[in-house]
């Protein structure tokens, strides 16, 4: 069977699609007649699919940790606030956030405390923002990450804290349908899981998904994406026009989903320009990308 040694590496290459049609045909002929090589081919193929499948999900905080560290590094590079003062300020903010969350957890103590937590957290975020330089405009993106790491375990938190946000929600009429959002509500209970605390300004209120609507929209799913990431991709600037005006130009929708939240972003196109409706701010934005570029990106 020593001639098979010549074939063995070819078998490995065949599994990787590295052989020409001629080489592959020749090898296939050999495999038909040689049980050992047939077994090797089976083994290599099975191995290949086994290693590549069932990939584990990456840890939910991996991305946040990386970006948080990067922002910290950037601040260190540009910040003129003396190190000691800065760490005192951020420590204070952290304490305020933690206290706020702790208060929020004591649901039995009544709504007063919950509201207090709801207020305390934004205050902490304000402090944080005010204290640092403008690069820390990036920090509010951190605050949600830090704030949400703690409450991640307190799932019971979400519904209670949501009490405030949900009350406000019915006020927001569905832009497309121009009618009450009652229709949208039942379907979107999952979206109410969104933590509406401190980063109230960053995340905004729970997004209203469009349950029923207009002619077939193209739908895309992005898992493990959040709204800030999509905003980053689309690089939009606010547009004067309202969602109602734009409604007839809607062509698609992007569904964002990660462990913490779910959003639906409506896409419009007019005269080759891409617009989108930011569900958190309910504002139409004009994107720096074209619809075609976005499609290409989503298809990849």
């Amino acid at each position: 069977m020593s001639q098979c040694e010549n074939y063995q590496e070819l078998i490995s290459r065949m599994v990787d699609g590295d052989l020409s049609a001629l080489e592959e045909a020749d090898l296939a002929r050999h495999i038909e007649t040689c049980p050992d090589c047939a077994a090797l081919f089976q083994a290599f193929s099975a191995l290949s699919s086994q290693i590549g499948k069932d990939l584990e999900e990456s840890p939910f905080d991996l991305r946040d940790n990386v970006m948080a560290e990067i922002h910290r590094e950037e601040i260190r590079r540009r910040n003129r606030i003396p190190t000691i003062l800065r760490s005192v300020l951020s420590a204070a903010a952290c304490v305020a956030l933690i206290v706020g969350v702790y208060l929020g957890v004591s649901i039995t103590q009544g709504k007063n405390l919950v509201t207090a937590a709801y207020d305390a957290a934004p205050a902490a975020a304000e402090e944080n923002t005010a204290a640092a330089e403008e690069e820390v405009r990036a920090m509010p993106e951190d605050a949600p990450a830090a704030a949400e790491e703690a409450p991640a375990e307190e799932a019971a938190d979400a519904p209670t804290l949501q009490a405030n946000a949900v009350e406000a929600a019915p006020e927001n009429d569905h832009p497309l349908l121009g009618m009450g959002s009652a229709a949208a509500a039942p379907e979107e209970t999952t979206q109410e899981e969104t933590e509406a605390e401190a980063p109230a300004e960053a995340l905004g209120e729970t997004a209203e998904d469009e349950a029923a609507e207009a002619p077939a929209l193209e739908e895309w799913e992005l898992t493990n994406w959040d709204l800030s990431l999509l905003r980053e991709l689309l690089k939009g600037s606010p547009e004067e026009r309202s969602a109602e005006e734009m409604a007839s130009h809607a062509f698609g929708r992007i569904h964002l989903q990660n462990l913490r939240e779910e959003y639906s972003v409506l896409l419009y196109e007019e005269d080759g320009v891409l617009y989108y409706l930011d569900p958190a701010e309910e504002t139409v934005y004009r994107s720096a990308l074209t619809a075609e570029e976005l499609r290409a990106f989503l298809a990849a």
Partner: protein, 206 residues
């Protein structure tokens, strides 16, 4: 993500758009994490490795010129981070197995046992855990290259680019990695006695 998409985002980051880097993290975190996981064997360390790799990539982004795909460059970084980690842990980079240079082995897969088809036999061997164990047994460079091929789906050319190797070396290293992994899997756990005893040359190929 295509090469153009990568480049666009990389340029944005290089010009000071820090947040755009998150797009790259999002695109590759799953694969980077899984490569690290297979290299170091547990989730906690793998997460540290993956995070460190992304940070290293960010901090040396100015030296990335775009002659290779960003992803290739990134996987090289995470592989090296893991290799360094293992070295610090005291494990020698190349295990004592002589498989690296050994060309003379023939892999014995005796399928003459009528009681089970090769498929059934393989299936029993190829549980996820068994494969993970097997991967840990490989010499680091073989494991590294096999993971780049199987998890990242990188082409031979991309792997060569990422690791600074000739394509021929890539091919033969992948082949040897597969061969050794199969041999380990056969040895691991229960080889039916009927097969082991029937094989006159013995089933050891390492």
């Amino acid at each position: 993500m295509t090469r153009e998409q990568e480049l666009t985002i990389v340029r944005r980051v290089q010009h000071g758009d820090v947040n755009a880097f998150e797009l790259l993290v999002a695109a590759y975190e799953k694969n980077v994490f899984n490569v690290a996981l297979q290299m170091v064997g547990n989730r906690e360390d793998a997460q540290d490795m993956a995070q460190e790799a992304f940070l290293k990539a960010y901090n040396s982004l100015s030296s990335f010129r775009g002659d290779s795909k960003f992803s290739s460059w990134l996987y090289r970084i995470v592989s090296n981070v893991c290799l360094d980690f293992k070295r610090r842990q005291g494990r020698r980079p190349s295990s004592s197995l002589t498989v690296e240079d050994d060309e003379g082995e023939t892999l014995e897969l005796d399928i003459a046992d009528e009681s089970q088809s090769p498929e059934a036999l393989l299936e029993r061997k190829l549980t996820r855990e068994a494969v993970r164990r097997g991967l840990q047994e490989l010499p680091d460079e073989q494991r590294q290259i096999l993971l780049l091929r199987e998890i990242q789906g990188m082409s031979y050319e991309e792997i060569g680019e990422a690791m600074g190797l000739e394509e021929g070396t890539v091919k033969s290293r992948i082949f040897r990695a597969r061969k050794n992994l199969c041999a380990f899997l056969l040895k691991d756990g229960n080889i039916p006695d009927s097969i082991a005893s029937r094989n006159p040359r013995g089933s050891d190929v390492l």
